[in-house]
Amino acid sequence: MEPRETWVALSALQHLLFCERQAALIHVERLWVEDVNTAQGRLLHERVDLPGHDARPGRRVERAVRLGCQRLRLTGRADLVEYHPDGTSPTGWRPFPVEVKRARRKSEEADRVQLCAQALCLEEMHGVDVPEGALFHGAEHRRQAVRFDARLRTLTEDAVARMHELLARCQVPAVPRAPKCEKCSLESMCLPQVTAGQRRASDHLRRMVEPVEF
């Protein structure tokens, strides 16, 4: 039997936790707006340069690592995976994913979920437990450890399942306008006022043909 073909992108989880509509616009409608923020984010990812990290003995650092989890049909790329020597691991080392974020965080939770999803991929690919990783905040140059506990794993698997549902339905859900919309790079393509059914084209057209007065 052929494997099922729908795959969830690691990056989609972050979009989903921020806004289901944003996730569907990007991953179902495949819309994307490159603005200052996304360009900066991309630049940061291209030039991941973590201070003092390649230095420790025995520690290997891999960048732009392709990841996948067949069980969850999840795929994507990790900015950076460190491989730490670890005697308790059957392979002798343990993967440690590091996700790089810009300073202005949209959602801490979303970042942790994305990182946890990388861990799930690494566990399946290497056959070892991955209990921990870190978020690296670009502008602050600060690293924050993240433990992949049962709660975070459940949250992550639920998010993957919800994203699969969105992709299967192929529809963009309507959501009400919210304060977070201001931070969204897709705001100009989202047109929430139309989706909310507040505007009718027939009324608009009628006004356009009304007689004018001099």
């Binding site: 409608e29 707006v33 490159e34 192929c170 705001e187 139309v194 505007r199 084209a201 356009m208 043909v209």
Partner: protein, 342 residues
């Protein structure tokens, strides 16, 4: 909100475009002519024969920056695109609607309402600023357009819609000489002509429409629609029919308004054009540059989007309209709402 509205126009014959860091660098004979951050760009338009490195092309495609090449007269040659944008299901919906006579009629009607409505607004604005003796001519044209708009509501098939559009276009272009002021009256205009345009005003209109059509095509492709499958304009090989549909409502407020403001302010004069042996009229290089600068400036101007109830810029209007059209085709909107000029 995207700020990347800028178009980089290349008018230097033999220019070379390459990528340095996150910037586009334009050189001519090893001399640096311009440098622009990629993230400031929405499109790159080459109006002269130019080179572009594969690295830059790759970055443009990835960042969603449209790259197109035109001949010197504004004749479209090629547009470079990555994977088709949007969703294949949306394109299927577009084809289904295009095959559905009743729905095609409704969209075509809306497109012509947009065109005539905005042409009427353009003449209304011109009338306000016109000297007294010219007002009656413009008022008469406005009244005729109003009549055609009313008739459109009753049009029962596509042929009637297209017929009304044709009559309205004649009535509209007929008053163009009345829009010329002062020194600009040296320009003459005896109706719309093209392929090739045979007077300077027609040359300007053709050039402006060619640029706008490509922007509309890019906007449609960007939301995943097929720019070649139209409603008012029937399919014809080699024609971007949907881009032409989308352009109708924007012709008067974007191109016609720009053309008249340039000639009436004396920024373009009859001497800025040259006539070829067979009668075709071309913009001279300096005039072409002046037009492009003004066109780019016009795209940054803020306007009210009446239907969406938000401020936007002229440059984003084709994209917003393409998004609205996509929603119509998916059945999420009750009809196509053309951009309405206040």
């Amino acid at each position: 909100m995207t700020t990347a509205l800028n178009t980089l126009f290349i008018t230097l014959e033999g220019a070379r475009l390459n990528k340095e860091g996150e910037r586009v660098v334009v050189t001519l004979h090893d001399e640096k002519k311009a440098e622009v951050p990629l993230r400031h760009l929405r499109s790159v338009v080459c109006l002269a024969r130019a080179w572009m490195t594969p690295e830059l092309l790759e970055s443009c495609v990835e960042a969603g920056i449209h790259v197109s090449f035109f001949g010197m007269t504004g004749r479209f040659l090629v547009r470079v695109e990555g994977l088709p944008g949007g969703n294949v299901l949306l394109r299927r919906a577009q084809f289904r609607v295009a095959d559905d006579g009743a729905r095609t009629l409704e969209i075509a009607r809306a497109v012509v309402v947009g065109k005539l409505g905005n042409a009427r607004q353009f003449l209304m604005h011109a009338r306000r600023d016109a000297v007294e003796e010219r007002k009656p001519v413009l008022e008469e044209a406005v009244r005729r357009l109003s009549g055609h708009l009313r008739a459109l509501e009753r049009a029962e098939d596509l042929e009637q819609v297209r017929g009304l559009e044709g009559i309205a276009a004649r009535d509209y272009f007929e008053v163009f000489p009345s829009l010329l002021k002062g020194e600009a009256r040296r320009f003459t205009f005896d109706g719309r002509n093209r392929r090739p345009p045979r007077d300077p005003l027609n040359a300007l209109l053709s050039f402006g429409y060619a640029l706008l059509a490509q922007e509309c095509a890019g906007a449609l492709a960007g939301v995943g629609l097929d720019p070649a499958v139209g409603f008012l304009h029937e399919d014809r090989p080699g024609r971007l029919s949907l881009a032409l549909d989308l352009m109708e409502e924007l012709r008067a407020p974007v191109v016609d308004r720009l053309v008249f403001s340039l000639v009436n302010r004396g920024q373009l004069k009859p001497e800025d054009f040259k006539t070829e042996a067979a009668g075709g009229v071309l913009l001279r290089d300096e005039a072409r540059k002046a037009f492009l600068v003004a066109y780019q400036g016009a795209k940054q101007v803020e306007v009210q989007h009446v239907f969406l109830g938000q401020q936007t810029s002229w440059g984003l209007v084709p994209h917003l309209q393409a998004l609205l059209l996509a929603r119509v085709l998916r059945g999420e909107l009750d009809g196509y709402p053309p951009f309405a000029v206040r």
